[in-house]
Structures are given as structure tokens and as C-alpha cells.
Amino acid sequence: MSDNATSARAGISSPEASLTLRVRFSEWIDRHSRQLFITPAVVMILIFSIFPLVASLIIAFSRIRLRGGGYSVRFVGFDNFSKQIFGSEQFHFLGTFAPISALGWVFGLGVLGLVLFWLFKYATAKFTVLGFLGRVITASMAVGLAFMFAATLLSGKPFGTLGTTLFYVFVGCGIQFLIGLGLAFLCSQPIRGRNFFRVVFFIPMMITPIGVGYAFRMMADTTKGPFSPLWKWVGWGDFTWATDPWAARIFIVVADSWQWIPFIFIVLLAALENVPRDFVEAAQVDGASSREIFFDITWPQIVPVAATVMLIRVIEAFKIVDLPNIMTSGGPGIATESMSLHSLFAWRSLDLGQSSAVAYLLLFVTVVTCVSFFNLIVVGRMRANG
């Protein structure tokens, strides 16, 4: 087909369009461009993402020994996982369990009740098997986590890396969203120097997390850091935050926020600036206050962007590893150790099975959280907005 087609192009007198090697080659490329465009990406993802994912799963179900130059692999079933959840590593992953205190029971049963009510409402309203199944998974994870916190934090014992990771994700992302939105809103006002603020606020995102970690270690130093006179003045001169679990966790959240608020800020700012001026002006003419304008007009317009940006932020937040590694090495004890760091430490001690098991548990929690977030909040919102 290509032969007579090329020569049939009358009008344009293409010199010797007939079957030179080059023409044939470009015709071939053109005919296979469908595959050509997408294959590299697919192959790369298969090799560097899917294959490792499957291999990791196999490792998570095995005990691996390094022998000479090679490995020996023994299949051990769920051993690695059960060790994390029920066995000798439970304190590390879930936390040190104590008999659940009264407060713990109230909290755990409260969450259970809420979740059951929510499921019941869904089941009686618009029931689909898949939707229900998804909600059951979300609900069981929520209840499981609630009881985990009930048996550890609320009963006076420390929680493990799972709890720490969730702390980073939910508290950290929550703070970051509020501040990011606030800054974006301020910067979207008609003020002078907007560009200056925009550029300055964006800078932390550029800085390597390692650098952020060390910079904040300096900041937080109560004896030699820049704020040490202040600490002395309030009487905390000899307080070392690195030995207090909550102070350490909060400090990591502060550093993480410093680094990531710019991302939320810059996207929300762009979204705010994209809200058509006429809407706002029409409302101003109608005499709406700025608060009403924000909640009735601006906010609904940026919700989709906000949801997406938070989804991305949550996904990245689950991976947190650099900051705790640099700032505290996971200490004091395991108080600031995230699941990624937990997995990294397991790998350092050459326990590959445990390392992969923790990584998979992280993946599971991330996926359930993100899918729930997406399906329940983003999609729900979209439906509500028509």
C-alpha cells in the first residue's frame, strides 16, 4: 500500500519518492508509531516497577540468606508479616500493647460505632457489592487502627512505626494544607510584592531533604542553635528535644511542613488565581463579605485542585524517610521511625524478608488510605457538585 501511495502524491513532485531506504524506514516507523510511543514507558515500568513489586512480594514471604555470592531463598509463608503484627516485632511495628484503658475503650468503640453506622447507612441507601466491599476494607482498617491507638497511646504505651507514619501523614498534611491554603489566599489578595512572596515561599521545595534535616537539627539545638538564648530565657536551656518522643515527632513535622507547604501553596495559589474574576466581582457588587466570597464562591472552585494536591501530598508523605533518618535516626528509641525507615533499618541488618514485609504493609496502608480518600472524598465531592 505504501508504494503506490507515496508515488500517487501528485502535485508535490517529491524527488524519487519511490522506495528509497529512508522512505521505507520512515513508513515503517509511521506504521508502528502506536507501539513505538508507548512501549518504552511500559517496558521501563514493567522492569523497574512491576518486576520489583512482585519480587518484593516473594521476598516478603521468604527468608533470604546471603551465601557466598548468591542467595538462598526459603518460603516461609506469612511468617514475616505475623512477626510484625503478632510476634516479636509487634512493639516495633504496631507498638507496645497494654490492657486497653477506659479512654481507649471509649475511643475504640466510638470509632467502631461510627464506622458501623456509616456502613449501615451505605447498605440501606445505594448498595453495590463492590462499593460495599471497598467500604468494608476501609472500615476494618479504620477500626483496626483505632484499637491499635487505643491499646498503645491511649493506654499509656508508645506506638510503633505504623502509628508514627500515620502521625506524619495526617497531622503533617493537615497542618500543611491549612497553612498552604492560608498563604495562597493571602498571596492572591491585591497586595504589593506578590511575586517576591511567591518566589520566596517556593524556595524550600527546592532544597534537598537531607539539607533540610540538618538545617533543622541546627535550628533545634537548644545549646548552640540560633534560638538557644530564647530557650534559656524560658528555662528550657538543657532540654534536649531529641530525647522526648513527642518533641522529636513534632519537630520532624515542622521540618516536613517547611519543605512541603510550598508545593501546596504554589498549586493552590495558581488555582485561586484561576477563579474567574467576574464571579468574585459579581459577589462584591452584591455586597458579600470577603468571608462569604471565599466560602461560597472561591472555595467550591478550588476544591478539585485542593483534593488532588492533597492526594499527591498524602502519597508522598507516606514515603517519609529522609527527615527522620537525618534528624533523629528514628530515635529516641523508635519514636520517630517511619515505616520506610523501619524497612530501611531491617535491610541494613540484612533481614530482607522483614524489610519487604514492612514495605508491603506500608504499601497496603497507603493504597487503602489513598483509594478511600479518592473514592469517598474526591468522587463524593464531584457528585455533590454535579
Binding site: 508509531s33 502506536r34 513505538l36 510511543f37 508507548i38 518504552p40 514507558a41 521501563m44 515500568i45 516497577s49 518486576f51 520489583p52 513489586l53 519480587a55 518484593s56 516473594i58 521476598i59 498563604l183 493571602l186 489578595q189 491585591p190 497586595i191 520566596v200 515561599f201 517556593f202 524556595i203 527546592m206 532544597i207 534537598t208 539539607g211 533540610v212 540538618y214 538545617a215 541546627m218 535550628m219 545549646t223 548552640k224 542553635g225 540560633p226 517547611w258 504554589i266 498549586v267 495558581a270 488555582a271 488532588t308 502519597i315 507516606f318 514515603k319 524517610v321 529522609d322 537525618i326 520506610s340 530501611l344 514492612v358 514495605a359 506500608l362 504499601l363 497507603t366 489513598c370 474526591v378
Partner: protein, 349 residues
């Protein structure tokens, strides 16, 4: 007109669109506070790089020339005594982030373009068969110690055989949206989930601690971002431009490079910058994949901590400053693009 109270005068606009004085004060103080919060740690790192050990250890000093006498000793140490290590890490970082970014942006935007413009409909059954035969191969290699080359060959053969044999019996197909979601969702994988097998893979082909290994890994890790951002850019280009080129006789490849890419400059700039920053700052994967030859800057920074004398903050600060200067300069120049680029992606989700 009635007398306005002080509060009213402070917080009610004189005119629509004008900001009352009181609000203005609040807004500016908040913004300036945040500016200080953002800049102070950077400033501190910067001046620390000019401090001597005494300046650091004897409590905080804040202002160069006034509080303390800046010295270049830390800079000297890094650039004179440790010149080779620094230079090596720096060039490694540059090479790796440049090539990884280029590769990622090229492959990612080609895939994004394909998904935006060409219809794909892979059969669901074929994918299932593919996955199953690959898993069988892995189990064969991992558990039973079959040679991996043999296992792969057998798996591919089995795959094609089954497709031919069973192809007629299933019809369910996936669409572009599913492929797009599959590719973007790879971003959810934390590096720790995949890095151990990647490590083993590179070890078995002898590529550990080489540029190539890190470049390939970085490229794939950032592929979802490229695809996600560029997909919406390509979607927003009027399709008539490409159709017109097609009618004029341009091939798809030519259309892509001659028409589509030049029109997505803003998106490309944002994506490139973002990926470059991520690659430049990446730590965990580099920690696994490089031991000495291919060490990048973040590893060098982290390694500053290893001495017995505790952390040498002044040296550490120098390395951090050296690391952040290029990205910050680049980002300040290009930050407008970033916002635009990310917004496009984010709006569509």
C-alpha cells in the same frame, strides 16, 4: 454620612476592591512572618558555612562581620583538600540528574502523547496471562533457583502461546484511561517497596554503583509525574493542528517533535524542572544503588555525619549551600512555569 468607628475604619474597605488598612497590616505581618520562617534556616546554613568551629560551638552568633569574623576554612577544606570527592559527587549528581530527567521526560511525554491521542485497547485477558506467566517465572527463579534467562525466555514463550491459544475466548478490553491510571499509580510505590529487588537486579548484571543504574531507576520513579503533567498539556493542544500536519503528510513522530513538543514548552519546562529537582535531591535510592563511584551529593552530605568528632556543621553547611544554589537559581527563574504546569495536571486530576 455617619461617623465610622475606629474598627470600621480599620477593617472596612473604603471602596470595593480596596484593602482596608487594618487588614493590610495583618496580611503583611503574616506574610513577613512566613518569609522569615522560610528564609531563616537557609540564612543560618549559609552563615554557618563561614563560621569557624569556635563560632559554632561557643553558642550562637548571628551576623557576619559584626558577631563573628567569617572564615573560608570550611569552603577551603571542601574545595581544596577534599576537592576530588566533592567534584566527583558533584559531577555524578549533575550527570545523573540531567540524564535521568532527559530520559524520563522523553519517554514519559511520548507515552503521555500516545495516551492522549491514540486509542489503545489491550485485552484484559492478555494482561492477565502476561502477569501470570511472569509470576511463574519469578517463582521459578526465586524459589526453585532456575536460571533467570531461561525462566524469562520460557515465560515469554508461554505467554505468546497462551495468547494465541486463548485469545478468542475473552473480549474485555482496557482503555487509555486504565493505562494512564496504571502508569500514574506507580507513584504510590514507596522506594523501599521496590528498591531491594532493583538492587539485586543491578547486582546480578554487574551494574551496581554505576551512573546507568541510578539514571534508569530515577527515570522510572519520576515517569508517573511526567506522564501525569504532560498528558493534560497534550490534551489541551487543539487537535486540528496535528490533523493538519497529518494531512500535509507528516508522520506521527514528526508531528510529535515538530508540532506538539514546541507547543508544550511551558509544560515541558515545568515538568523538567520538577523532575530535575527530585532527581537532584533524591537520597534513599542513591543510598542503596551507589557505594562509592556513583555517589551523589545527598550521599556526600549525609556522609558528613560519619566522623567521630560529631557533625562538622561548617563543612556540612558548605555542602548544603553548594547543593542548593543551582536548583534555587533555576527554580526562581522558572517558577512561573511550575505553578502553571502543576495546575494543569491538578485541575484535571
Amino acid at each position: 454620612m455617619a461617623e465610622r468607628t475606629l474598627m470600621e475604619r480599620l477593617f472596612e474597605p473604603a471602596q470595593i476592591g480596596h484593602m482596608p488598612v487594618g487588614t493590610k497590616i495583618v496580611v503583611y505581618s503574616l506574610l513577613l512572618f512566613w518569609t522569615a520562617f522560610v528564609l531563616f534556616p537557609i540564612y543560618w546554613v549559609f552563615i554557618t558555612s563561614f563560621k569557624s568551629a569556635v563560632d559554632v560551638n561557643s553558642g550562637p552568633v548571628y551576623l557576619p562581620f559584626i558577631d563573628f569574623k567569617p572564615s573560608l576554612h570550611a569552603w577551603k577544606e571542601l574545595f581544596v583538600f577534599d576537592w576530588e570527592d566533592t567534584l566527583k559527587a558533584y559531577t555524578n549528581s549533575i550527570i545523573i540528574s540531567l540524564f535521568a530527567t532527559a530520559l524520563s521526560v522523553l519517554i514519559g511525554s511520548m507515552a503521555a502523547y500516545a495516551l492522549a491521542r491514540i486509542e489503545y485497547a489491550p485485552k484484559f485477558g492478555s494482561i492477565l496471562i502476561f502477569v501470570l506467566s511472569m509470576i511463574a517465572a519469578f517463582v521459578g527463579v526465586g524459589v526453585y533457583g532456575v536460571d533467570w534467562r531461561l525462566a524469562c525466555a520460557v515465560a515469554v514463550a508461554v505467554f505468546f502461546f497462551l495468547i494465541k491459544a486463548l485469545g478468542r475466548f475473552y473480549a474485555a478490553r482496557l482503555g487509555n484511561g486504565d493505562i494512564l491510571f496504571w502508569m500514574i499509580s506507580q507513584r504510590i510505590l514507596a522506594p523501599v517497596v521496590v528498591v531491594v529487588p532493583i538492587y539485586m537486579m543491578f547486582q546480578s548484571v554487574g551494574l551496581l554503583d554505576t551512573h546507568l543504574a541510578i539514571i534508569l531507576t530515577y527515570a522510572v520513579v519520576n515517569l508517573p509525574i511526567v506522564i501525569w503533567l504532560m498528558y493534560d498539556f497534550f490534551k489541551s493542544i487543539p487537535i486540528e493542528l496535528e490533523e493538519s500536519a497529518q494531512l500535509d503528510g507528516a508522520t506521527r513522530l514528526l508531528t510529535f517533535f515538530d508540532i506538539v513538543l514546541p507547543l508544550s514548552k511551558a509544560g515541558l519546562a515545568a515538568t523538567t524542572l520538577l523532575v530535575m529537582i527530585l532527581a537532584w535531591n533524591e537520597y534513599l535510592l542513591a543510598l542503596f544503588l551507589s557505594t562509592s563511584k556513583a555517589q551523589t551529593m545527598p550521599i556526600l552530605v549525609a556522609a558528613m555525619n560519619a566522623g567521630e568528632r560529631g557533625i562538622l556543621w561548617w563543612n556540612m553547611s558548605v555542602v548544603i549551600v553548594v547543593m542548593i544554589i543551582p536548583v534555587v537559581v533555576m527554580a526562581i527563574i522558572l517558577q512561573r512555569f511550575i505553578a502553571k504546569g502543576m495546575l494543569l495536571g491538578a485541575v484535571k486530576g
